[in-house]
């Protein structure tokens, strides 16, 4: 056992951090700065990081889930308003199915509550759902059930608009006709493939949450050092210090479970990987809401204004939380895995 990041992984983190520091929005107003978003988009495309899960020899991904999670965390910290999660998840689905790479930016189509991929019973059924992280995206992948497994289908995506998360607009898809992917040699996905993909997805959302928490605490810590009341920096008040200390502690715990979930996604059998991911997601999602709320609290009234970045972090956390199941859904996975369910409350 040696769970330190390798030198290459450290270097990747530094490169991703640099990209984010150069191009992520430094204020809420900058979210609307088209020239900046174009620069961020160009830099991310240039980095090739959206293709980390593209197949190399024998279908293995170019980079491990640990590396992918490192990039996701830094983009979350940004917060980077360019699509990464959606395209990475789509690439991962294509890799598992042995499908040819997409020709344009693509994401995944999730059920309206974002709890999982949209699955239709046949190709005649129309698809509805949410194409997450859809900035600059042309299509989204869903699944069609066949007798022997699941095949990939695509639906066109247009008109992404910011909802809960202002950094990662989503697009509603209503009644779109699914199209079979072109090309041959693709294989059907099994339930185990979907489990493994879900574990990978959860691990990436955890990494995004860890990054979001870091961004929120950095923001609050900076503010606590400059804002003065009673003639002192508010960061010298013990109650403010203790809120931020607890937030930092939550980030550290979240980092440890996320590192394991990312490792597990490529290493453990799908059921075990999913269990590790569920532990991580329950932990990180619970922590993230609290940490982002702390960031608002530390800002006082300023924290309630649209112009303060704190709500941008909170909103991003709320979306990442929802993808493939929130705190409760993942705690339910833990209950199922440890076989401690099957209860009644004695009253019903």
């Amino acid at each position: 056992m040696d769970v330190r990041l390798s030198a290459e992984q450290q270097a990747l983190r530094e490169a991703a951090a640099r990209l984010v520091d150069d191009h992520a929005p430094g204020s809420v107003a900058e979210l609307d700065d088209a020239a900046r978003t174009a620069r961020l988009e160009a830099a991310l495309t240039g980095s090739g990081w959206r293709e980390l899960r593209a197949p190399e020899d024998e279908g293995r991904p170019l980079a491990s889930a640990v590396e992918t999670a490192i990039v996701a965390e830094e983009l979350g910290r940004g917060p980077a308003d360019a699509s990464f999660l959606g395209p990475t998840l789509a690439t991962e689905l294509r890799r598992r199915a042995g499908a040819e790479p997409a020709t344009a930016l693509e994401t995944v189509l999730l059920r309206p509550d974002l709890s999982g991929l949209v699955v239709v019973e046949d190709e005649q059924t129309r698809c509805s759902g949410v194409a997450i992280d859809a900035r600059g995206v042309a299509s989204a992948l869903a699944l069609v059930r066949t007798g022997h497994g699941y095949d990939l289908v695509g639906v066109p995506v247009a008109g992404a608009s910011p909802g809960r998360d202002l950094t990662r607009p989503a697009a509603m898809v209503e009644g779109a006709a699914p199209e079979r992917l072109p090309g041959a040699g693709r294989r059907l996905l099994t339930a185990e493939d979907i489990e493994a993909w879900s574990a990978f997805t959860l691990a990436l959302t955890c990494a995004d949450l860890v990054g979001t928490m870091r961004g929120a605490v950095d923001l609050a810590r900076e503010y606590a050092s400059v804002r003065r009341q009673y003639g002192k920096a508010i960061g010298s008040f013990q109650s403010v210090q203790h809120m931020l200390a607890d937030a930092f502690v939550s980030i550290e715990g979240s980092s440890s479970v996320t590192r394991h979930a990312a490792w597990a996604a490529d290493t453990l059998p799908p059921g075990e990987a999913l269990a590790a991911a569920a532990v991580a997601k329950a932990y990180c999602a619970r922590a993230a809401r609290e940490v982002c709320e702390t960031a608002i609290q530390v800002h006082g009234g300023i924290g309630m204004t649209w112009e303060c970045l704190a709500h941008i972090h909170l909103r991003r956390a709320l979306l990442s939380t929802q993808v493939l199941g929130d705190v409760g859904a993942n705690l339910a996975r833990v209950v199922a895995h440890r076989k401690i369910g099957g209860v009644h409350d004695g009253l019903r």
């Binding site: 056992m1 810590r221 008040f237 210090q241 203790h242 931020l244 715990g253 394991h260 705690l331 401690i340």
Partner: protein, 376 residues
Amino acid sequence: MDFADSPEEAAFRARLRAWLAENNPKLPQSSTADEYWDGQAPWHRALYDAGFFGLSWPEEIGGHGLPSVYEAIVDEELAQAGAPPRPSLGYLVQGMMRHGGQDVRRRFLPGLVSGRERWCQGFSEPDAGSDLASLRTRAVPRGDEYVITGHKVWTSYSDEADWCLVLARTDPDVPKHRGLSAFAVRMDQPGIEQRPLKMINGVTREFGEVIFDGAVAKASDMVGSPGEGWRLAMTVVSHEREPGELGYVARYSKAVNELVDRLRSAPGRFTEENVRDVAWAVVEAEMLRLHVCRRLSDRLDGISHGPEGSVDKLLMTRVEQAVGHAALGMSNLTGGIEEDTWLKMYLYSRAQSIMGGTSQIQRNLVATRILGLPVA
């Protein structure tokens, strides 16, 4: 980055697992039963003699000089087997190793590590808890010895101990942090009186008061140099905050396995709330296991520890108290406290945010030493 065992680690794990299958003394939790202490010393010696204790410590003190990650394997296997955790004395070892001279290290550490000599830690006093540096116990030189007078409290396992690592004031004329020195003091001597304290959960062997009234320590039993006591105490308490040093992953994982078994044994008896509390205990304990893997891996770089011990103490406290809350849900309202292990476990869990420096003190340290916020 790999959580999996290397071939050597896997072989070690298999050897330990086989040994545990034959040698698990099946003691109750120390936090809930005084009987634990009747079996703890033989358990410590058995674990040591079989080569499974002190893995990452130097060979000259009885350790094995292995990478620190071996400790994580020991904790996992102890929990899996439902065996007692490894003895929590790493913080004393670290303090004496770092501050004790050659002679002190050679005389005391092998006995401490092998379990042949038992130790307690006499730092806190009635008027010096969080503000430890204000302690009043005096050590006055007389010939080639020191005479110790003072009152220590909450001294854990003092009735088991052959030795006490006592922090005492040797120089009242300098600022409070600078006038302290540490001594190895024999517990079986006339100038020492022990008064056991009963904890809120009824156990009586967790801690006690120790009154020093003219007890003596040889000058050569001073640990570190005169005035080095504060720095030694900080080394000790900072390691006391590290779950990897304490072996607490095994404690919590074992408790969680017991909670899981309890739920499975009586499905339908518990509420959804109870199940949720146990699920959180599972999540928290797993977090700590993974966190300790991370910290012990970082030590492979030779990074030992710093203020992040306070982070780990706060994480560990959340785990213990989540386990405590889940245990409370298992407790039987009609039974007396004598039998109610779950209630005892819950009540004991409240100690974790107090001992080894309270949670408030840890948060002060995280805020100022790690986050760089201005000292109030």
